[in-house]
Symmetry: C2
Subunit: 377 residues, 2 copies
């Protein structure tokens, strides 16, 4: 499948920034929430190197918003979120896994509370809108649910603060991580959060008017020249180094948050009765059967996966690689692996199927990948 062309279709929605992404030489796309998402410009490695040194502008419109508005918005938000949102504060972002009644993850959005009775769930790749609407209809809740005209634009990289201050004023430097605030762009107020799908720091601008898209992009681009700005996108190498999990790759409806290591985002001991809670409490009691781990893999540079690779110990299947890539700063292949719980311990040696035959792998904690990249750098 590598090297296949993506056939044009209106069904694969363009974004407010597609003309700019296209003009700046996008080399590869994926499809995410029925929409185009750039995956590479110059090359995975060049994009990665630049992201770690300068600043990039990313069209992440695919992070569609599911808007809950009305008297029952808060009640519904608390019901669907495995993370306790009872005391969610206006102006804050919350990573909030959403589970079905079996505790399986159906989306892992960022929840933004915009007002007492207004939320945005900034979603990963599944139609969370349909889930939320279905529940609201079934329960007869008084809440309006829609996908508003909101398209996030991310500014990521070490010079993100300087660039954003040049565009939106010095005050933006004071926005804390996972907080958001409205800033004026040519008289139009835009919610801007300190967040983004990299570990390089930066912001996400929630553009809420498609017609302003090109003007916003161009204004940032003009100010970004002195910081050596480039068009970029979530980078596979950097996100694996950073331990950022991708819905559809590293977790899906086959998995629960406990298996993925998201315990701290799941409020099993809270008062709130969210969907999937009972199933997850039960799983916590009886134990998990598999667990997502970090992994370092020997051998030459691995290409991005299209299919999970088998992981074995002494010929016995113990799991699969969910994401893997060659990290230049680490100087080797790193990734994530879903491993049988009884084999999921740090330091365990495993064998990984690869195009060039079995390769040795060593399991680690996902959170330790970053430190190892830093120490090898």
């Amino acid at each position: 499948m590598s090297g296949s062309l993506l056939f044009p279709s209106r069904r694969l929605r363009a974004t407010p920034f597609t003309s700019r992404v296209s003009a700046l030489g996008v080399a590869g796309y994926t499809v995410y929430n029925h929409m185009l998402l750039a995956t590479v410009f110059e090359s995975l490695q060049e994009d990665y190197k630049h992201l770690k040194e300068y600043v990039q502008i990313w069209d992440v419109s695919v992070e569609r918003q599911v808007q809950l508005l009305g008297p029952d918005a808060h009640k519904l938000a608390c019901m669907i979120s495995a993370r306790d949102l009872t005391n969610a504060k206006v102006g804050r972002c919350y990573y909030a896994p959403i589970c079905d009644q079996n505790g399986a993850i159906i989306n892992d959005p960022i929840a933004l509370r915009l007002a007492e009775n207004k939320y945005w769930f900034s979603i990963s790749d599944s139609d969370l809108l349909l889930w939320v609407q279905g529940i609201a209809i079934g329960l007869g809740l008084n809440v309006d649910i829609c996908e508003p005209d909101v398209s996030p634009l991310a500014i990521q990289g070490p010079f993100a603060d300087d660039l954003m201050a040049d565009v939106f004023g010095e005050e933006i430097r004071e926005v804390k991580f996972f907080h958001f605030k409205a800033f004026s762009f040519r008289g139009h107020m835009l919610n801007i959060a300190r967040s983004g799908w990299s570990k390089q720091g930066g912001f996400e601008i929630y553009l809420d008017d498609t017609n302003l898209g090109e003007e916003l992009w161009d204004a940032i681009w003009a100010k970004g020249k002195k910081y050596n700005i480039r068009a970029g996108c979530p980078n596979l190498i950097e996100r694996v180094e950073a331990g950022l999990l991708s819905y559809g790759n590293d977790m899906n409806r086959e998995d629960t948050p406990l298996e993925i290591g998201l315990e701290k985002y799941v409020s099993l001991d809270s008062e709130v009765d969210f969907i999937g809670k009972a199933a997850l409490q039960k799983q916590r009691k009886v134990g998990i059967k598999k667990r997502l781990m970090g992994i370092e893999i020997d051998g030459s540079k691995m290409p991005p996966l299209t299919m999970p690779k088998k992981v074995s110990i002494e010929g016995k299947n113990v799991g699969m690689i969910t994401s893997a890539v060659f990290s230049p700063d680490y100087g080797g292949n790193i990734g994530f692996a879903m491993i049988k719980a009884s084999n999921a311990y740090v330091g365990a040696e495993v064998m990984v199927d690869s195009e060039e035959g079995p390769q040795r792998g060593i399991l680690c904690e996902i959170g330790d990948l970053w430190a190892q990249v830093q120490s090898n750098r």
Copy 2:
């Protein structure tokens, strides 16, 4: 975007047949229901010509099934389907638009009743599973909902009957249009329907075991050689000629079935109280504001659309093209256009934006495109 590479990812799921599709020279993919769907092999026009003359094998695994099983399965099916399924027969397929509470289309699946208490909804490109699960949870229904391991494989083209008879026996010729029946493949029973997303006739085999995928493909391929079988896929030219609408292209959550011309699949005068019924009854009463029409467009060969093209009359915007393509048999460009109701009449002359300047277009009924293709052929 034409010419862009599709970047590999496990999130874009492979199918039981991906190895065969890939080996047979797929030239372009799209992503549909988080899964790979071939869009072109040799070329749009060569694929089209072959489909109309011989027989093709299509990997349409992307038609994922939403399975409803249990005491409340029938009740839930009737509740979500805008088409009255009250008397749905086991062994029959029903084209059944699904609407939200505003009457907007969220999916347009084929419903298959497998047993009194068991349905499959063979879906178009949105996560209908989440909608159905959400409603069932909200209402506390006693029904199990899942995406089973089912991947349809279509055999389409004039020689489909002969080929299928060679593989599954003569009895298969007696399966009527939109009926299905179980046939044995090496001892494994497979549901096979006379259906498919072309007007060339054929079948869809609902493979319910991924591990049998390559064996099934290879068996059909071997028997198909004498009919000049090729790997194919839903063909843009043929489906526009045939008036087959594509969810995401020709309809989406902005549209109701009445605007799309699906009145006959919507049971507004039935007893059943489905979601969206009241909104649609109201719309029928006050009238629609826009209507999907067929269109013939002057000028040189149009490439497949990535964005809707504007349609105007005397400089005033009256709608947009949702799909368009050059049809060799018609000898010109044909497509679909969503047009302001007051301008949506057969024979109306409009202007269509195109890369090479405005082109004249003539509106027609969608159902008349096919006849016009035949008479020009």
